[in-house]
Subunit: 206 residues, 2 copies
């Protein structure tokens, strides 16, 4: 039997429900499409009621990025950490990332839309987005480094280079799967993961 | 001495100048940020004057995508076609694409921003964007095929797979160079091109 989850104060629960609705909305329309009014309507709340929980649209946008980040960690990163260090962990992480990317072909992704919305708009939302993406890229690099230490990838492997190449296959899967509606995009992404791992198992020329 | 360029009718010249201003604006603010009013202001024209040339904002957006496409062909695709069939042509095309991508780290790119603006907004602008991207991916594939025919790439190479992987390194260069402001992004992209070509020169495992 599961133990009862600790009861959160009602204000906290409302805040989480608002963030959840806002994240669903932002995934579809982008962080810049997010308005306190639209979120209030989804929640059947007044605008001032939503406003009272965040104080500004920017604070709501930041909370949405943080919520996405935590969810990504919980579904992609943390379960993979239970796998053995090295290639098993890296492969598991990529498998889980591809599952997540597959879902986002239908829904959209706030990292991808946020990158073009905030690329020349400095401020706390962009800072939060960049920090979140960098945290993920650094986690990927650590797992690659472990695979080198375990002797599963060749010692000449540059972890930052491989992390970027994995990031690239994720971006092209999103672009070609979602925008171009190419139903072979996922299959190609899986092949790219295998190609990249096979390549970095041997000495590289360049 | 250059021959004089053939004189275009004045209406045609104005139309081209409007498209040029609109393309510069769309590169920064996205195709969806484009308004007849803002373009009219850039051109010191009346809104109705700009409107008369296009008839609708959508038609102006389409004209901008077509102008970007023609410029991309003229700077990336056509000069590379003067190189010998096979790897010389593919490498030259990638070099030129990387130069273009390097410029777009500063300016933005209407393909990347357009993909998230129009991913769930059907209509003529999305159709024009998709057609333009697909034309480029098909051109890349043809050049890859020629490299296989010339024996410069291994016969097991899947042209669509390699075209997507080259597309992926372009997308990650834009994302990490422009949004994350990572000044190593171009260097990694160059290495990825070399890695990909080296990999597809040999038999692949998968």
């Amino acid at each position: 039997m599961n133990e009862q989850a600790p009861q959160l104060p009602k204000g906290q629960l409302t805040r989480l429900a608002i963030i959840d609705a806002a994240l669903r909305l932002a995934t579809q329309v982008g962080l810049e499409g997010l308005s306190i009014g639209a979120v209030a309507e989804m929640m059947s709340m007044s605008k001032s009621g939503v406003f009272a929980h965040f104080g500004s649209r920017e604070a709501l946008q930041q909370a949405v990025v943080q919520a996405y980040h935590l969810r990504f960690e919980a579904t992609v990163f943390q379960p993979a950490m239970r796998q053995a260090r090295g290639l098993p962990r890296l492969r598991d992480m990529m498998d889980r990332w591809l599952v997540q990317l597959g879902l986002e072909i239908d829904t959209g992704c706030i990292y991808v839309s946020g990158a073009t919305e905030f690329d020349d708009r400095p401020g706390p939302v962009r800072d939060t987005l960049i920090e979140s993406v960098n945290t993920w890229l650094q986690a990927l690099q650590r797992v690659v480094k472990q695979a080198i230490e375990e002797g599963h990838l060749h010692e000449s492997t540059d972890p930052r280079q491989l992390a970027s190449e994995l990031h690239g296959l994720a971006l092209v899967l999103h672009f070609e799967g979602r925008f171009l509606r190419d139903d072979q995009a996922m299959e190609r992404a899986r092949r790219s993961v295998n190609h990249l791992i096979a390549r970095y198992q041997t000495q590289l020329e360049t």
